[in-house]
């Protein structure tokens, strides 16, 4: 392995280094604020590394593919990890919990995500996914006292393990059919293998897609999502929704495009059914949720349904491949940033008190904490796809691609899904506009607490800065997307 290759792996190296330093630090002196600073520095170094590696894009062995596209998502995921880190500091501030391990797990999970993004081989795909997943189980269960995090972690662990097994079985079948494990190799040999034994190949890819679909939580693999979202500590939920899902979708896109899976009609039909079901069922189930984290869980199911539309368009021609890739880039970036904005607010409002995740606890937020409320409003509008937000341009891309490929059924489902979606996103906005005094359950005791919160707010204004920053980015992507479109087009 020559130096050039090492340069290309810079972000991965930096993250590994951070993990090692964190372990050494824990054995020398346990101090969570030091661990926090090390993690922050490590993530920043990795960010620098992602920029540095852009000069050395190349395949690194058969396992990894370092390219501009992957590096862009690496950057995005590192940013998401930094946001998670900032939010975590606020959430895990109570005494008596050992936090150093949490930061180590965070770094390992990000490392897994970066490997996943750059994987070009089934081995690295599995490696990245497991590294990311195993660290996540522990992060979800991290608060020692609660039962819900534990329940969520167990649920995620068991189901995730099943999904991994299915994934592995799928790999085996594909290997049996083609004799290849790298995406490109599969792409080359798949058509011959299909002619010889279509069932073997199709069963294999279907199982791989099921395993990946579980991580993306698309219908019918979505059952775990609301419970895990609700049970996990809020920053971890945000991490799961952005880093984990984003990385898996990038990996899916690579596998899909390079393995040329879009050539097979039966597979595409199945995927289209999954997309339609995700859009409709995800949005439908979100309607009656009272807990904002469960609501966002269902909303993310729907959003990955929208994203699948773009992937399906690959097989139907019509839209140029460049436009399709640009759409995925934009939509996924918009989704990640919007989700971060939403979870930043949810985390800062709820704090450590997980009971404050009900929509009712957002009543009158506009008048209590206008910056947080504005940020959440913009995030909801972006999710709903209202113009001037990043989400709208994303939706604009998806619909354009869908129209050019003439996927009318999918577009119909998208419209119905979005129309349903407006209702629950607006519910949150409406709750925030209610005047604080009018809500009946607002007892004097609660008001006293709010007073305390307001006093506290002055000291935690870093959260307001974060909310403002994310709000600005989401709006900027929506109002002046040209630079980003050009950038995404070059990737």
């Amino acid at each position: 392995m020559n130096a050039q290759l090492m340069m290309a792996l810079m972000p991965i190296l930096m993250l590994s280094l951070t993990a090692v330093v964190l372990m050494i630090q824990a054995s020398v002196k346990r101090d969570q604020s030091v661990a926090w600073v090390i993690t922050a520095l490590g993530l920043l170094l990795a960010l620098w590394g992602a920029g540095y590696a852009r000069g050395f894009t190349q395949p690194v062995t058969v396992l990894l593919m370092v390219d501009d596209w992957g590096l862009f998502f690496t950057t995005l995921i590192l940013v998401a990890a930094l946001v998670t880190l900032i939010l975590s500091k606020h959430t895990f501030s109570s005494e008596g919990e050992r936090k150093e391990e949490y930061y180590l797990l965070l770094v390992l999970s990000v490392l897994g995500a970066v490997v996943l993004i750059q994987s070009s081989h089934m081995v690295s795909l599995l490696l990245g996914m497991e590294l990311m997943g195993v660290a996540l189980y522990a992060m979800i269960a991290f608060p020692e006292k609660g039962q819900r995090p534990l329940e969520a972690a167990i649920k995620y662990l068991v189901l995730s393990a099943c999904a991994s097994v299915i994934l592995l079985y799928g790999f085996a079948l594909i290997y049996a059919a083609t004799g290849e494990l790298s995406y490109a190799g599969i792409g080359l040999k798949a058509s011959i293998a299909y002619d010889q034994n279509p069932i073997l190949l199709m069963a294999g890819t279907a199982m791989v897609l099921a395993g990946i679909g579980f991580k993306l939580s698309v219908v019918p693999f979505h059952m775990w999502t609301p419970d895990v979202y609700e049970g996990a500590p809020t920053p971890v939920t945000g991490f799961l929704a952005t880093v984990s899902k984003g990385a898996v979708f990038v990996a899916l896109t690579r596998f899909f495009a390079e393995g040329q899976l879009y050539e097979y009609q039966s597979l595409m039909t199945a995927l289209a059914a999954v997309a339609i079901a995700s859009m409709l069922i995800g949005n439908w189930l979100a309607l009656r949720q009272e807990n904002i984290k469960r609501l966002l869980a269902y909303s993310s199911i729907a959003h990955f349904g929208y994203l699948l539309v773009v992937l399906i368009a690959l097989s139907y021609g019509g839209a140029e491949a460049g436009l399709i890739r640009e759409s995925i880039t934009f939509y996924l970036a918009a989704y990640i940033l919007t989700t971060l904005a939403a979870f930043a607010v949810v985390a800062s409002i709820a704090g450590e008190d997980e009971r404050k995740n009900n929509i009712a606890s957002f009543d009158g937020l506009f008048w209590r904490r206008p910056i947080q409320a504005s940020s959440l409003t913009v995030a909801m509008l972006s999710f709903a796809g209202i113009p001037l937000t990043a989400g709208f341009i994303g939706k604009f891309y998806v619909i354009s691609v869908g129209i050019q490929s003439q996927l009318w059924w999918l577009i119909t489902a998208l419209i119905i899904g979005s129309a349903i979606g407006i209702y629950y996103y607006l519910r949150i906005i409406f709750a925030m506009t209610m005047s604080a005094g009018s809500s009946a359950d607002m007892s004097a005791n609660d008001e006293g607490k709010d007073q305390k919160n307001i006093a506290q707010d002055a000291s935690v204004s870093s959260q307001d800065v974060l909310a403002m920053l994310l709000l600005t980015i989401v709006l900027l992507l929506g109002t002046w997307p040209q630079p980003f479109i050009e950038f995404a087009g070059r990737l």
Binding site: W367, L381, A384, I386, P387, L388, F396, I399, S400, I403, Q404, I411, I415, S418, A419, I422, Y423, L426, R427, I429, F430, T433, S435, P481, Q482, I485, E486, G489
Partner: protein
């Protein structure tokens, strides 16, 4: 640049109004009024400076330089999206209507809104900015953007300052318009895709997209996407169910803007986009649209008659009046179109005034239920007289603007379909019935004993001044409608040439 400034002034003015609350809680309304009037004067000054106004030529649909004003700047060149505004006679009338009614709305909010005044006036100004954008944008992406974004401040106005059932009404209003807007978005993108495959270039410009060649079936579907979005806003039976709720629950200023201006964006969209972009498809569809319009005229009137809620009655009367606009547009001859444009302006004034009266009553009586009223004329003679004026205007008394409008529509429609004309003319009779019953129940008859000794305040100077402006406008439109017809004529003429 003038058109961009018009919008910017309102946007910045909104921020100023929001901030001015810190100075004094009465400041926001003054700032808002100043901003709207400034915008109006700014626009008038630029109009008076234009020599074209005296000798209006037909603005060619495919040549922006023949329009009164045109502005274009790149925005998202990757998709051929630009910030393109253009102004012709019809949009000019609509902009003027928006700004005048904007000032009326600020006046209506003067004492009506008592909490969070700064944020209220800001939302009001932002809504106006969005509406101006809708009336002037000729890039379809930009148009869609304004179309959707203007709803957000409007949503806040209903959701925060509305009456008892505001949450439901605001939600219904937003979902109806958004869901139909999505259909329009799909149509816009499909139209652009068709155009792109024909020319090889992305463009959202109205001037490029006119005369896009496409298959007949495609044109029908795409036209339907636009049509549904616009008729939901207009609104037309059976898409009207959001309107009574939204109009009734909105604060007075919100109702004034909703009924006076926002409904007209639907009509404007039909005239500007739905028909010219798909001329053949629209003509094939015109009979269905006209039947819907005629049904709306009668249905709205019958429902209005049955209401006991003062605002709800006026809201249903809007359904009826907007039916005339739909009839006028799809009759698609010069007379009927003139009538439709006239109706847009006249109905704007008459309904805005009626909603202000309703707001005035609610402020004084704390109810909108007409069963609780009666004999109010004795206590509030000025308000009674003003109400009488606008009620007879709304029922179409000759000499006032609404009569001219409805008469022209019926005249134009008669050339196309006499039977539908007969049905629509029923609307004039039923209109008289519900308008007079409104007057009868609220202002005449036995005085309600409960209200006898409440010492109700009659309309004050501010309210009378606002009303006087609208009265003058309606009398002017009724007696001397020629200027409006002259302004609209060249535009309509060139539009008529687009269709086969």
């Amino acid at each position: 640049m003038v058109m961009v400034n018009l919008i910017l002034i309102l946007l910045v003015g909104g921020v100023l109004a929001l901030l001015s609350e810190r100075v004094n809680e009465n400041m926001p309304r003054r700032v808002a009024l100043a901003v709207v009037l400034f915008d109006l004067i700014y626009f008038l000054i630029h109009l008076s400076g234009m020599p074209e106004l005296t000798q209006l030529q037909a603005p060619l649909p495919d040549d922006p330089s023949t329009w009164l004003m045109h502005f274009k700047a790149d925005w998202i060149p990757a998709f051929g999206i630009s910030i393109e505004f253009a102004l012709d006679g019809i949009s000019m009338l609509m902009v003027l209507l928006t700004l005048v009614l904007g000032a009326v709305a600020v006046s209506a909010s003067w004492t009506d809104v008592i909490v969070r005044r700064g944020f209220f006036e800001a939302n009001l100004l932002w809504t106006l900015a969005g509406v101006l954008g809708v009336f002037m944008a000729l890039d379809l992406f930009l148009f869609f953007l304004f179309w959707e974004v203007m709803l957000i401040p409007m949503y806040f106005m209903i959701a925060i300052w509305g009456h008892e059932n505001r949450g439901y009404a605001a939600m219904k209003f937003f979902i109806f318009t958004q869901a139909s807007g999505l259909l329009m978005l799909v149509s816009i993108l499909a139209l652009v895709a068709v155009n792109q495959s024909a020319t090889g270039q992305w463009s959202f410009s109205y001037f490029d997209l006119l005369n896009t060649p496409m298959a007949e079936a495609t044109a029908h579907w795409l036209m339907l996407g636009f049509f549904i979005a616009f008729v939901v806003k207009l609104p037309v039976f059976p898409f009207h169910t959001w309107l009574p709720d939204a109009h009734t629950q909105a604060p007075t200023a919100g109702s004034v803007i909703l009924a006076g201006i926002l409904l007209k964006t639907g009509a404007y969209g039909l005239i500007r986009f739905a028909v010219p972009l798909f001329p053949q498809a629209a003509m094939d569809f015109s009979y269905v649209a006209m039947v819907l319009g005629a049904v709306g005229v009668v249905y709205g009137a019958v429902l209005a008659f049955a209401q006991t809620d003062f605002k709800r009655l006026i809201a249903y009367s809007s359904v009826s009046h907007m039916g005339f606009v739909l009839l006028g547009v799809y009759a698609w001859n010069e007379l009927a179109l003139q009538g439709a444009v006239m109706q847009m302006v006249a109905h704007g004034f008459s309904t805005a005034a009626l909603f202000m009266i309703a707001g005035g009553l609610q402020e004084r009586l704390h109810t909108r239920d007409m069963r609780e009223m009666g004999g109010l004329w004795q206590q509030m003679p000025r308000m009674g007289a003003v109400a009488m004026f606008f009620v007879v205007a709304s029922l179409g008394l000759p000499g006032l603007g609404n009569f001219v409008a409805e008469f022209l529509v019926l005249l134009g429609l008669f050339q196309v379909d006499p039977w539908l004309t007969a049905v629509a003319a029923l609307g004039l009779i039923t209109g008289a019935a519900y308008s007079l019953i409104l007057m009868q129940r609220a202002f005449q008859g036995e005085p309600n004993p409960r209200l006898a000794d409440q010492g109700l305040m009659d309309f004050g100077r501010r309210e009378m001044l606002t009303m006087a402006v609208m009265m003058l406008a309606l009398v002017g439109l009724g007696i001397y409608p020629q200027p409006i017809l002259d302004i609209a004529q060249p535009v309509l003429q060139s539009l008529l040439e687009v269709t086969p």
